[in-house]
């Protein structure tokens, strides 16, 4: 008898619940159907977050592929003029480098392993650091003439210790290419007088397998991307792919395809054909305007963008299929970087933001 009663009790509760639901949801004159979204994978969370740069993070650079004993490092340049060297095992700052007199650092890059570091700052200086054996002072510096925000680009030549450096030049629309470390100017690339391309905004030096001379991709203020032949000092192709200044570009030399982002809502993918002509192959509309940085993962599978809308977006690089929106930062993301290709499953993505944090993500690593 007791069991029967309790069963009935349950049944009644069920009924009442139903009645309550009905009276709340299906009352006449009310269209409050709650539509549940189709369940997709919940967006991922960062693997960890690096705090302590104490000012907005402008640039990031991984250095993981190194000798067995040294830990993977992440270099970050901040608005406050400091360069932080993060140890990714302890997730702490190993070293803080101060060489730009408190002026914003907007490009860092290592050369030849982890010990040689190049940094570019708003104090119009490009510093070269040797970090071996705990040193933390610049060994060399190069003064620049451009006051813009254009990051430099480096191409390591075959010969040991020699590399090419491209930096914005003295004139407004100039790009200077230097042979380092001798600092001798190789050439100055200046568009013809009537081109009116404005300042260079981003540079990418690379050397195709086929041709002998290095090439330079430069994004300009007027929204166009120009392909330079460095040795010939000539424009190979010019593509006007944006309405607004090109903020960032990256190039996948394996597929001969590159991507550029501007302050608009559009991401533009272009390709380079055999005749060295650039042409647009597709554009991708975004929800919010403003892309500060783009990066293609070294394995050529994922494209990441740093958005002014506080979000990092991931796309499949082959078809530009939107994959994820990483929503962690509370201010504009300034830079994204992928770690060097290690074993599959170890490729990290880092995003540096105006909110002074660096988020480190491990996504799409399962292969």
């Amino acid at each position: 008898m007791c069991r029967r009663l309790s069963l009935d009790v349950e049944k009644f509760q069920e009924c009442t619940r139903l009645a309550v639901c009905q009276s709340l949801l299906f009352l006449p004159g009310r269209c409050s159907w709650i539509s549940l979204p189709v369940m997709a994978l919940a967006p991922p969370s960062p693997q960890f977050v690096l705090r302590g740069s104490q000012s907005a993070v402008n640039t990031l650079h991984f250095s993981c592929r190194s000798k067995a004993h040294s830990p993977p490092l992440l270099f970050s340049g901040s608005l406050g003029g400091l360069i932080h060297v993060w140890n990714l095992e302890t997730r702490r700052v190993d070293t803080t480098l101060d060489g730009h007199a408190g002026q914003s650092v907007y490009w860092v890059k290592t050369l030849e392993g982890q010990h040689l570091l190049l940094s570019q700052g708003r104090d119009l200086k490009l510093c070269l650091w040797d970090l071996a054996e705990g040193r933390n002072a610049p060994v060399d510096s190069l003064s620049l003439d451009s006051v813009g925000f254009c990051k430099g680009s480096v191409l390591t030549e075959g010969t040991q210790g020699c590399w090419l450096l491209a930096v914005p030049g003295k004139d407004m629309d100039e790009v200077q290419v230097l042979d380092m470390p001798s600092k001798t100017s190789v050439c100055t690339l200046k568009p013809e007088a009537g081109a009116k391309v404005g300042m260079p905004m981003c540079l990418e030096l690379w050397k195709p397998a086929s041709s002998s001379g290095p090439l330079l991709l430069a994004g300009y203020e007027d929204g166009s991307v120009i392909l330079w032949d460095v040795s010939e000092r000539s424009v190979l192709s010019r593509l006007a792919c944006h309405e607004e200044p090109v903020m960032s570009l990256d190039f996948d030399s394996g597929r001969a395809r590159g991507v550029s982002g501007s302050s608009e809502k559009v991401l533009c993918v272009w390709s380079l054909d055999e005749q060295q002509n650039l042409k647009v192959c597709r554009t991708q509309e975004l929800t919010n305007p403003g892309i500060a940085d783009v990066a293609i993962r070294p394995d050529g599978k994922i494209l990441a963008t740093a958005g002014w809308d506080h979000r990092i977006r991931l796309f499949g690089w082959k078809q530009l299929k939107p994959l994820a929106v990483l929503d962690y930062h509370s201010a504009a993301v300034h830079c994204v970087a992928f770690s060097d290709p290690g074993r599959p499953g170890e490729q990290l993505l880092a995003g540096g933001s105006k909110d002074q944090r660096i988020s480190v993500w491990s996504v799409y690593n399962q292969t």
Partner: protein, 834 residues
């Protein structure tokens, strides 16, 4: 001549004598054979006149005698069943009507199971299997003077139709399956087709036949409720036969026309249901409705207005039948007018069950789809008037189904009246009901009748193009890809949920409650206003103290808030904010809200919002654990959890609890446990916060319902709000379980219910019944039986009446439920006292 006659008589008498006296098998068989001569037509040693005499005068007597002799010993007088064979042959070869009558008679008079009964049943089943029934009916059809032999005809009729009943009465479980109605009537149908075939042959041969007997059989079977069985056989055959043959068509018309009046309803309604389409129905029935008043009444009144049990296909059959012939179209117009009159009568809307209203509406829609432009021209004015009246009383109804039906019918009528130019357009949500109705509207009359082979009408599936389109899209995409030089795809990566990727708003959300107040009341900045509304709920929950300072003010602002922009989820956000305020400061806000419910100058919408908010707040207050559960999956704040991950960037290290889980899983699978109680989720405990405030929610609401304001008359036309109010107090009662206020609340609510119990609106009655259930549920049993006995008894009789007589099905169900609950209460009390 006399000598010849006497010779027959002599032979028969001799045989009878031998049968009664002799014990010798050979002698008996010889006697039987001598009589059998008169049956067989082959050798023909006897004159036809003699045969006729025998069959008319002596046959049945002789058969009765044979039956009386029947016993196992008697049949064994000759070896190898010779005698039995001989015995059977008299029944199987003689005139079918007499043989059948004798068989039936002897079966019905036999008392109890016996050898004889079994033998008779066996012979009867052989009789049926040999198609003797067709013979019997054919004989009756050939008799040109049905009036004279009406007694015989009547007897045969009842025996033929009631055969399954007689047999099962006599034989109980032993009855062979052939005599089951589901087997017998299809057989009868087959036999009837045989007879009809013979009749059609003989008509072609130029001789006359009467079909009357068949019609009577058909009528009687249908009256006995076996339409499905017999028509299930007859209709497909007739459908095929009447397709190209006008004699068969005439035959079928005559068959239905000569059905006696009392059977016409059963036959016609059976045919309407069984016919596979309007065209077939028209071939089978002909213009019966124009000739037969009774049939006309059945088709135009009874099936449409008095009953509502048929499916939509049947309705389509029926109305399609009316539309197929120009004579019958006048009836169609008349039917439409009658239907519209019912549809538009406010009393019918109020008092008839929803199902019937739906049925009538469907019929109207089908009618309209059959009408031509020219016909509509004639009745345009009438249609308009009917629509105007009807749509008003439908929209006034508090049942959503009725409203939807009214809207759709009105839309259809208006679009038919003015084929060009603006017509009515209502907003209703799409659901099963509306889709079904709309599919009827779009049905072309020509589609309504499928080909003769056809299955019942199925509305053309509108899904198909929708199914195709994604494929088409995929195809398109493939084309796009084809143009791309890069053929490989990104399919190896599964995208994450990107639904939160919304446009970024620049405005900062307010951080203080008072800022919210200011933003909501005075802000011209639309974005700020929207952001405020979005964060308000969480803000209130985070700052209860600050909220309490301004709770009433905030509730007031929210209650009067109007949607300034087309904002997604505005209603929900506002409601949730209001609920949060109410939960934070229940006493003040509940007092305010309940007082505003009866205040002037509120719209019905606002008053119903008040009720919703009170219910939701009560729910939240009464169950602490529901705080988590009740959260409606809206849009949660973007939250980030840092994963507990190893300290290195390498992810290859197996997470330590991963293997543990795997091992535990394996152990669990391999371990057999003997006592395995169902795992119980631990329920959250805590004081019922609703206890101290329930009165503020409940009592003010039921205080003033009977005092009409200028703009708000609960007992008058605003019965929708009354229904909501009743539901609300019922739900509040339910949430008041285990509170001290439950007993006075129950008492007050019982009185409240009592005053409203005869309300005409079904929705209000549903609420009342629900309230009763919650009273029975929430008020402790001993108090209920101790303090409220009289009220309870009165309520019980009312519930019983509702459960029996209420036109609304939901009401009946709810009343049943309440009655059951009362029974349980009684049981419980008895257990408690004993």
């Amino acid at each position: 001549m006399d000598s010849e006659l006497s010779e027959v008589r002599h032979t028969v008498q001799e045989a009878l004598h031998t049968l009664s006296s002799s014990k010798d098998g050979v002698q008996i068989s010889e006697a039987l054979r001598s009589v059998r001569i008169y049956l067989s037509e082959m050798k023909n040693p006897v004159l036809p006149r003699e045969r006729e005499e025998f069959s008319k005068i002596y046959f049945s007597t002789f058969l009765r005698c044979l039956v009386s002799k029947l016993s196992p010993d008697w049949l064994d007088l000759l070896p190898a069943g010779q005698l039995e064979e001989l015995w059977d042959s008299f029944f199987l070869e003689g005139p079918a009507d007499q043989a059948f009558l004798v068989l039936m008679e002897s079966i019905t008079v036999t008392v109890g199971l016996s050898y004889r009964l079994m033998k008779m049943a066996q012979v009867l089943s052989r009789f049926l299997k040999m198609g003797r029934l067709a013979e019997l009916m054919w004989e009756m059809c050939q008799q040109q003077v049905p009036r004279g032999s009406s007694l015989l005809q009547e007897t045969l009729l009842s025996k033929v139709v009631c055969l399954p009943d007689h047999l099962s009465n006599q034989m109980k479980e032993q009855s062979p399956s052939l005599f089951f109605p589901q087997n017998y009537f299809p057989l009868l149908g087959e036999e009837m087709i045989q007879v009809l075939q013979r009749i059609s042959d003989s008509l072609r041969g130029g001789s006359d036949c009467s079909i009357c007997f068949l019609s009577q059989i058909l009528a009687k079977v249908c009256i006995h409720g076996r339409q499905k069985e017999i028509l299930g056989v007859l209709v497909p055959h007739l459908t095929e036969l009447t397709q190209a043959d006008c004699i068969w068509q005439r035959l079928s018309w005559r068959l239905v026309e000569s059905v006696p009046d009392r059977g016409i309803e059963a036959v016609v309604s059976g045919l309407i249901q069984e016919a596979p389409g309007a065209r077939v129905l028209s071939r089978l029935l002909g213009n019966l409705v124009m000739k037969n008043k009774k049939a006309q009444f059945v088709v135009t009144q009874k099936c449409l207005l008095l009953q509502y049990r048929y499916s939509t296909e049947v309705l389509q059959n029926l109305l399609g039948y009316l539309a197929l012939d120009s004579y019958r179209r006048t009836l169609l117009l008349q039917v439409l007018k009658d239907l519209l009159e019912t549809w538009g009568s406010s009393s019918a809307v109020k008092h008839s069950p929803v199902e019937q209203q739906l049925y009538v509406s469907k019929a109207i829609l089908i009618c309209l789809s059959h009408l031509k432009e020219s016909e509509i021209d004639h009745i345009r004015e009438e249609l308009l008037t009917a629509m105007m009246g009807g749509v008003q009383c439908h929209i006034e109804s508090s049942l959503p189904q009725v409203r939807h039906v009214g809207m759709i019918v009105a839309e259809t009528i208006s679009s038919r009246i003015h084929s060009e130019g603006p017509h009515l357009k209502f907003q209703y949500e799409e659901n099963k009901l509306t889709r079904e109705l709309l599919s009827l509207v779009n049905l072309k009359p020509d589609d309504a009748s499928p080909p003769a082979s056809g299955s019942p009408v199925v509305p053309a599936p509108a899904v198909q193009p929708a199914c195709l389109s994604p494929e088409g899209k995929a195809h398109q995409e493939e084309k796009d890809k084809g143009s791309d030089s890069d053929l490989d795809s990104d399919d190896e990566f599964v995208p994450y949920d990107m639904s939160r990727d919304k446009e970024l708003k620049n405005t900062k959300a307010p951080v203080y409650i008072r800022d919210c107040l200011e933003a909501l009341t005075s802000s011209e900045d639309v974005e700020r206003w929207e952001v405020t509304l979005q964060v308000l709920e969480s803000l209130i929950k985070r700052n209860p103290a600050a909220t309490k300072e301004v709770s009433t003010e905030l509730a007031k602002v929210l209650l009067h808030l109007e949607e300034k922009t087309c904002m997604e989820g505005f209603e929900m956000l506002r409601q949730r904010a209001l609920v949060a305020v109410t939960v934070t400061d229940p006493v003040q806000v509940a007092q305010y809200l309940t007082s505003q419910f009866y205040a002037m100058n509120y719209s019905l919408r606002q008053r119903m919002d008040i009720l919703d908010v009170l219910v939701l707040a009560a729910q939240e207050l009464s169950s602490p654990r529901s705080l988590e559960k009740a959260k409606i999956p809206g849009r949660p704040e973007p939250s980030v959890q840092l994963l507990p991950a190893p300290l290195t960037p390498s992810l290859n290290i197996v997470p330590s609890d991963g293997w543990r889980r795997v091992v535990e899983e394996r152990i669990k699978n391999k371990t057999r446990r003997f006592a395995k109680g169902s795992s119980r989720s631990s329920t959250a405990n805590g004081p019922n916060k609703f206890n101290s405030v329930v009165g503020y929610f409940f009592f003010p609401l039921i205080e003033r319902f009977d005092r009409p304001l200028v703009t708000f008359d609960l007992l008058g036309e605003d019965s929708l709000v009354l229904g909501r109010l009743v539901h609300t107090v019922g739900i509040l009662m339910y949430f008041a379980i285990n509170t001290t206020a439950a007993v006075p609340m129950g008492k007050a609510l019982l009185e409240f219910v009592w005053t409203l119990r005869f309300h005409t609106d079904a929705y209000v009655r549903q609420g009342l019944l629900y309230s009763i259930s919650s009273i029975l549920w929430s008020v402790p049993a001993e108090r209920l039986l101790g303090d409220l006995t009289d009220e309870l008894l009165e309520t019980r009789s009312w519930l019983a009446a509702v459960a029996e007589n209420d036109p609304d099905e939901d009401c009946r169900k709810l009343a049943m439920q309440a009655l059951l609950l009362m029974e349980k209460l009684k049981d419980k009390f008895q257990i408690g006292s004993s």
